[in-house]
Symmetry: C2
Subunit: 161 residues, 2 copies
DNA sequence: GCTTTTTACTTGTAGCGTCAAGCAATGACT
DNA sequence: AGTCATTGCTTGACGCTACAAGTAAAAAGC
């Protein structure tokens, strides 16, 4: 066929709603965190991932996979978080090209203080709008989309287990 | 309770997958459009909305609602699109505070050229991963989330009809 | 009719992300 | 052991978005 395969009306309707959420939700998450903790959603995510890691430490590459970010982006972000005392960078002994990022005590406290408000926002804006079946459906659907977006499955530890 | 209501494991798993998609998908859409048409996803959306409007014209406020953008953001974007000849701004005769943005012929051609590649990307990265039931579920779930994110229902013409 | 408020939009600035380029260490290959 | 490619990360410049402040017109109040 020389025409593209357009979307069906159902697909189109669903897609438009989906990108509306994609457009609106980041703003909601960012502004709550910015207001209450002076953190970007991505900065919070970074701190949260570190807080869950063994020794609260991860190599830059591992952290960038865990947060779906490019190394360049992560490098800028960690630089900012380091300036504020939440994260410390130390050279990795096994591989001298590599850098370990670890959460400081101050950074840990920041996560502890910030998490409840963030979870409340996640509930308010998303989770509490959904029943158990919705949550299961969302999980299934996002899993299918992720397999297209992230064919190498860098996220398998969180997303595909 | 003085503890926040944490997420259940199912909710948490679903949420993490969801924000992974939220983090990855905009990059995929943006880079295809940037590469093939030198447009942002948001710029494309703006042109697409105009192309569907009567006379291919909308007032700035209406267009900002249709695209989920602040007026400030839209103003910058329209300024860029105007410089490139895709959009023209004309003062609105009925209300001299208002501005009409309309798609030029060049802008219309741009949409016509760009749409097929964009739809193909949408299919590749999302829609073709989903069966009919998934699409219906996604539609339902995003509708529920939108009702939280957009309580005033500015999007009703597209999202809630 | 004159102020006050609201609506519609624009503009400047500051901050974050992407891209391209770079460097240094490592591994592979000969 | 010497070259070449790859990996791990950093840096700088540029572009887009959010935020704050400003202008101008219209509507509302008195």
């Amino acid at each position: 066929m020389n025409h593209p395969r357009w979307l069906t009306p159902e697909q189109r309707h669903s897609w438009i709603r989906f990108i509306s959420v994609l457009e609106l939700l980041p703003g909601v998450l960012d502004s709550q965190l910015q207001h209450d903790a002076e953190l970007t959603h991505f900065e919070y995510l970074t701190l949260a991932r570190l807080s869950e890691a063994p020794e609260r430490t991860l190599r830059m590459t591992a952290l960038s996979s865990a947060t779906n970010a490019s190394l360049a982006r992560l490098s800028h972000v960690i630089a900012r978080l380091e300036k504020r005392g939440f994260v410390a960078r130390t050279p990795c002994p096994e591989d001298r090209r590599a850098t370990n990022a670890s959460l400081t005590e101050v950074g840990w406290q920041k996560v502890v203080e910030t998490a409840p408000g963030h979870v409340a926002t996640v509930r308010d804006s998303v989770i509490d709008a959904l029943d158990a079946a919705d949550v299961a459906d969302l999980d299934r659907i996002m899993g299918r989309i992720l397999s297209r977006l992230d064919p190498t499955n860098r996220l398998r530890s969180w997303g595909t287990e």
